[in-house]
């Protein structure tokens, strides 16, 4: 082929690069590995992740739920995972219809009217929600609950730091573990967004409806964030509570933990704000013969057309993960999501009650919870948990000291439908004996 284009050597392909900028040595990276060698190497590295093998009660924004086998089979279809963003609708209807179903499912679960095709994850979705609230209200203050996921709050801070948005955090109630009262009190006429997570980082359910009234009374938008999407199978939808923007992490719906990603951010709002939504939207459309199809629409919001005035800079989103969530939601369906949520809540209640009864252990917060709750240990939670791991092969939860230096003995426990009673009893026994 070189001859065909009149070149003598591969090197000549790079003539347009100035001599002094050409790398004249081989890259200092390893020589090629065969499949056998590569798999051996990765398998061996995998065994050095003890955490992945243990019965786990870790949540805090990433959850272990059962993933039906067909989810991975479907997202592994060549036509889905090796396909590009559906800019050519005539040959990407499969992806487009799946996204349209995803948007619908997200609307239905959140109780909202419009949802987009996905955001990077829950944390960036929350940040984009705050930016959107500023666009909608033309106000520059955001008030957020300090009981929201600490990493989510960090991401919001990063996103808003140069957007001229002032971010206020309100404390949570040390008794209940909730923050809605303080939030309701803090909202004022200059508030763009009231930001609450429910269930919050401590697993405590907030009174979202009350917040909606408070926010709307001052002309602010209520932004509701959900890290445990499964909770929507049991708890009143934010939409029904009056939320204006709902963001959630969709990992609970058929996405493996995978050390933190890729996950998928859900973003939903009211019809009237549709043109302020960040990211891609798929809509219904018809061809000349009247056949129904789907297309990417309202593109004038997006960076490739609106450039610096776009509603966001997002381009590539989490397509395949949104597909996994779609397959999950459709396979589990109406009854499966209810059943899974029900089992999460029941098993968590069982564990919570039993742990509360252990000598030296207590529950610092009184608010109702879904499948996560904070436990106060007799000693340092971090040490306790690391011993639980090493001695009992149990990941007992997340030490809050990771995020809050003033809570050395507290840890967050999460229980889902995949935790058998035997596992829960082993955890309780472990806590008792260690």
């Amino acid at each position: 082929m070189l001859e065909a284009i009149g070149l003598g050597s591969a090197a000549e392909l790079f003539d347009s690069i100035p001599q002094d900028l050409r790398l004249e040595r081989p890259l200092n990276t390893p020589a090629a590995l065969s499949e056998i060698e590569l798999l051996e190497w990765f398998e061996q590295l995998g065994t050095r992740n003890a955490g992945a093998r243990r019965a786990s009660f870790m949540g805090g924004g990433a959850y272990s739920h059962y993933i039906p086998t067909i989810v991975d089979h479907i997202i592994s279809r060549s036509e889905f995972f090796t396909s590009y963003t559906p800019y050519q609708p005539e040959i990407t209807q499969g992806t487009l219809q799946a996204i349209f179903e995803f948007q619908t499912l997200v609307c239905q679960l959140t109780g909202m009217e419009v949802a987009n095709a996905s955001m990077y994850d829950g944390s960036t979705a929350l940040a984009e929600a705050v930016l959107m609230a500023e666009r909608v209200t033309r106000r520059s203050k955001a008030i957020a609950s300090s009981a929201a996921h600490p990493q989510y709050l960090e991401v919001v801070r990063t996103y808003v730091q140069h957007a001229g948005i002032h971010l206020d955090l309100v404390p949570f109630d040390e008794k209940t573990g909730q923050s809605w009262k303080a939030l309701a009190e803090a909202v004022d006429d200059s508030t763009a967004a009231l930001v609450v997570q429910s269930p919050n980082f401590f697993g405590c359910i907030e009174d979202v409806a009350a917040l909606a009234d408070a926010a709307h009374a001052k002309g602010a938008l209520l932004v509701v964030c959900i890290t445990e999407a499964m909770s929507m199978g049991l708890l009143k939808s934010p939409g029904a509570c009056g939320a204006d923007i709902v963001v959630a992490e969709g990992q609970s719906f058929g996405v493996p933990l995978s050390f933190g990603g890729p996950y998928v951010g859900l973003f939903a709002t009211r019809e009237k704000y549709a043109r302020q939504i960040p990211g891609r939207l798929v809509g219904e459309a018809y061809d000349k013969k009247g056949h129904r199809g789907f297309v990417l629409t309202l593109a004038t919001r997006e960076q490739h057309i609106r450039r610096e005035k776009a509603t966001s800079n997002i381009c590539t989103n989490e397509g395949l993960i949104a597909l996994a969530a779609t397959v999950y939601m459709e396979t589990m369906g109406r009854r499966g999501i209810q059943e899974a949520a029900h089992q999460c809540a029941q098993k968590a209640a069982y564990a919570r009650r039993a742990i509360a009864g252990l000598k030296g252990y207590s529950l610092p917060f009184t608010a109702p919870c879904f499948n996560e709750f904070v436990v106060r240990a007799p000693g340092k939670a971090a040490d306790l948990l690391s011993r639980l791991g090493k001695e009992k092969e149990i990941e007992g939860g997340i030490a809050l000291s990771k995020f809050m230096s003033d809570r050395p003995n507290d840890f967050l426990v999460c229980v889902t439908e995949v935790n058998s009673r035997a596992q829960i009893d082993a955890l309780i026994e472990g806590l008792r004996t260690i």
Binding site: Q103, S118, K236, L257, R307
Partner: protein, 498 residues
């Protein structure tokens, strides 16, 4: 109509409704173990509970779901079906081996908040990949946290801002201008805006390169925070004056950001760090072959100079002796851009890519990618207008200038390509080229298919002359025709309703 169409034939394709239209009360597709704890009355008050019984969520069986998605999947074009010449998107083959690696239980089941000591293998993967990317870019400071290219841009630009604010203190408030070429991708200005910069546009020369005089002019006001440049640029041309460009910006007190979306032209051949670039993002879902998945996920590592390293997002990964840990103690960091550690699964795939290719394989891939683009460029030059004379790197831009005389435009040519069995090239980008057709074959296609592509494009060119209608109404062989996007946007229907 089938003149010269060698790549496809027409065949039956299954129809499929929306899942909601298939739903039937009572059907289930899941089975969970029975609840094994005694059921208790939950302490969740009624007003906090859902009262809609999840009305409207689908009720279908497992085989319903399988058929639903398998049928829909057959409507998609994909890399595995053939060449995907989307300029700027680098649609290359996605190895099955990488997929297998990403599914190894030791990684797939690992919780992101696991103590470092129980996740050493996972952390080593991150560290190792960072080493490779640092060597490939010549930029030692790496963060794998950004979830995509645009996310990496935002991160990089915020790093520039943090640097300036630290260096100039209050005076930095006068440096709020980000220079961006008119040929840049839309995410560039959008990302600059997110970081609080106002954008000034640099002209391109008739050659298709950055206009140095204009750059100098823009740099003469003391307000320049930096420059965002894509290299090779979005016309597929290497910015031969890159070093001088960097000098100009640096002398003006700004920093240089390089959009690395086109690194597939440079891996193993030339390194941004050696060009004078300060920050760059990579797209693992382009250059490093992680699958596009119909729109994502991506991964957009941010790579910077030693000097800028301290501003990278937390946590950083640190190796001491042979153990790895996450370091959150970085007071000058711009902060977190995403929860947890980024799109980890994509890191596994990218590392699998660099390791299976090896250092020589990485360079060979670059050579093949550029060779293929050159081959197409040569093949099409006689029938399509090639607006820039320079020899392209991994992608080449053509226009519809000649065809438009007959009223046939880029969109029509793209749609007609579908009838020939090809996914169209990137169209109307970059915006500075009227009727642009940006073609990037990548290394994952053989000569045979390249020849078929060139033949198809030539055949369309003649159709444009002999039978314009044929092209204007394309595609003719797909299950649906061109959709009325205007109406779709005017009266958007964004969800199914009961």
């Amino acid at each position: 109509m089938t003149t010269g169409i060698t790549k496809v034939t027409s065949h039956i394709s299954p129809n499929e409704q929306l899942i909601f239209e298939r739903s039937q009360t009572g059907r289930i597709g899941y089975r969970l173990p029975a609840l094994d704890v005694d059921e208790v009355e939950l302490d969740i008050p009624a007003e906090f509970r859902r009262d809609d019984d999840l009305e409207g969520m689908p009720e279908v069986s497992e085989v319903d779901v399988i058929r639903h998605f398998i049928r829909m999947s057959t409507w998609n074009y994909s890399i595995d079906i053939g060449m995907y010449p989307l300029g700027s998107c680098t649609m290359k083959y996605n190895s099955r081996l990488n997929e297998r690696v990403a599914r190894i239980a030791g990684f797939a089941n690992l919780h992101p908040l696991t103590d470092d000591s129980d996740a050493q293998g996972a952390l080593e993967v991150i560290y190792e990949l960072q080493q490779h990317l640092a060597e490939i870019t010549g930029l030692p400071g790496i963060s794998l946290q950004p979830a995509a290219g645009a996310h990496g841009e935002m991160t990089g630009i915020m790093i520039i801002r943090a640097f300036l604010d630290t260096r100039d203190g209050a005076a930095a408030s006068h440096r709020r201008t980000m220079l961006i070429p008119d040929s840049a991708h839309g995410t560039n200005p959008a990302s600059a805006h997110l970081s609080g910069f106002s954008v000034k546009t640099i002209k391109s020369t008739s050659e298709g390169l950055t206009d140095l005089d204009h750059l100098r002019e823009l740099c003469s006001h003391g307000d320049v925070a930096g420059l965002m440049l894509t290299n090779p640029n979005t016309l597929g041309l290497f910015e031969r004056n890159i070093k001088e460009i960097c000098d100009i910006v640096h002398e003006a007190g700004g920093l240089v950001y390089m959009d690395g979306a086109n690194m597939n032209a440079l891996v193993g051949v030339s390194r941004p760090g050696d060009m004078g670039v300060d920050v760059i993002h990579l797209n693992l879902h382009k250059t490093f072959s992680t699958p596009h998945g119909g729109g994502g996920p991506g991964s957009g590592p941010c790579c910077c100079t030693k000097e800028l390293e301290r501003f990278l997002p937390v946590p950083r990964i640190v190796k001491t002796d042979s153990t790895f840990r996450l370091d959150y103690n970085q007071p000058q960091s711009i902060g977190r851009v995403k929860a947890f550690l980024g799109n980890y699964g994509m890191m596994l795939r990218a590392l699998s890519y660099t390791l299976t290719h090896g250092n020589d394989g990485l360079r060979e891939a670059t050579e093949a990618a550029v060779l293929n683009a050159r081959y197409v460029a040569a093949g099409l030059a006689e029938v399509y207008d090639k607006p820039f004379a320079g020899s392209p790197m991994h992608e080449v831009v053509f226009t519809d200038k000649r065809q438009s005389r007959k009223g046939v435009h880029t969109l029509d040519i793209a749609k007609r390509l579908i009838d020939y069995g090809f996914h169209p090239m990137t169209i109307y980008f970059p915006l500075i080229v009227q009727g642009a057709m940006l073609i990037e074959p990548t290394e994952s296609v053989g000569r045979q298919e390249l020849d078929q592509f060139v033949a198809a494009m030539k055949s369309i060119a003649s159709e444009a002359v002999e039978d314009p209608e044929l092209v204007l109404n394309a595609p003719h062989s797909t299950r649906i025709g061109r959709l009325d996007e205007a109406t779709a946007a005017r009266k958007p229907v964004l969800r199914w309703k009961p």
